[in-house]
Symmetry: C2
Subunit: 238 residues, 2 copies
Amino acid sequence: MISYGDFKQQIDTLRLDICREIYRQNKALIRVKKEDVAVARLTAIFDRTLEISNRLGFQAMSVRDLSEATGISMGALYAYIESKDKLLEMILGMGRMAVARVMTMEPPEPVDPRGQLRWLLRAHLFLTEAMQPWFYFSYMETRHFDQQARERAMEGELMSERYFADCLRAGVEQGVFQPRDPEFTAALIKPLLQDWYLKRWKYRRRNIDVEAYADAVIAFIEPAVLQPAVTAGCAAND
Amino acid sequence: MISYGDFKQQIDTLRLDICREIYRQNKALIRVKKEDVAVARLTAIFDRTLEISNRLGFQAMSVRDLSEATGISMGALYAYIESKDKLLEMILGMGRMAVARVMTMEPPEPVDPRGQLRWLLRAHLFLTEAMQPWFYFSYMETRHFDQQARERAMEGELMSERYFADCLRAGVEQGVFQPRDPEFTAALIKPLLQDWYLKRWKYRRRNIDVEAYADAVIAFIEPAVLQPAVTAGCAAND
DNA sequence: GTCTATACAACGATAGAC
DNA sequence: GTCTATCGTTGTATAGAC
């Protein structure tokens, strides 16, 4: 089973690649042409934007705030971002690319459905831990997005539910799982994962790290989806 | 077991009382002195504010937007709300009063810990259903509040967790429950309840109403907290 | 490529006529 | 008690010197 430390290293190198790719995608709109300068500053701009937005909200963050935080003047800033809306778009694209790449990673070794479910839960939590600012941002700002971006966000939510539902159904076929309803159960798993990046203060004050949280979530979910024992002590609602 | 219909009726009358009380509390700052006129318009102002804010965000809602939506001119509006900040404060006070009154309601008949847990879950979900706009607003805008309001919101979150933790501990003493850790389990229950008012679109598109959601959540939670059967089929994580 | 200075729109809030 | 007109401020974005 992969540890968070190993996982985080992979994410960190992935992040740089992705920033470079975002730069290349938007080269036409970015006036700064030295790639290394541009990528470095873009990365800083993204990070600062996430930081300020997660404190004040993206809409409440003025471009002046961003200028001060990055140490880049207003005029220079607009050589990188074309507009505030476009900045939002680039940030969302960055996260989406990261999610897509991580979610298509295969578990290190082949596993049974129970192991598969555990792997999915851990990978999901580790990813949101490594990129917490982005996930928090995406969750909190979704309603301010334009329609296309909002639909993409909803699609992402449903997509990740599908991973869990598929895994549960596979477990049902193999006689390992017996959830009340695989789709509904998958829907209930999501908020348990999201709580980790939405309410850090709660878990931090209890000294719970992402590994401990993953263990607790797995222990919480498994009784609801595993085959019950012969006696009815664990049966679901009547 | 109380139905949502009955519960909603109680909430609706409660809401009017509370708006009247908010008016009286803020009489000094409100220039309109006819109580019936003032309360009626204040209620409308609160409702429209929640509606627009939940679409655009409170910060992004201009007072002009609110003026158009309520049909009250800019000048007249400021006879009711003193300032946009004070409007926010009044709205938060309204919800807090409602929560406090509902959460001190006793279950209709005495119950064992398992019944008590079910009652808590249902009451919580029913309240957030009846006042969904307020809870959504409160969750999404918390980070923009001033420190005092933010602390109050966090206190509210912890308070409601305590209800669940107390209930779980009582169940442990009576040999009914055996959660891995009552506090942590209570913390995991919260996001399951919050998902109901945060992601309505997901459940609406599946035609799941609040009663069905409550049933599913109860069925999901109970296996994790009930005493496991003699065989280990339902045991938590090893 | 970066800076300072500024244009123009939209914001919260108020004045004063009715 | 309500309206229209307007204040000063702050927002995004750009022009033009260096």
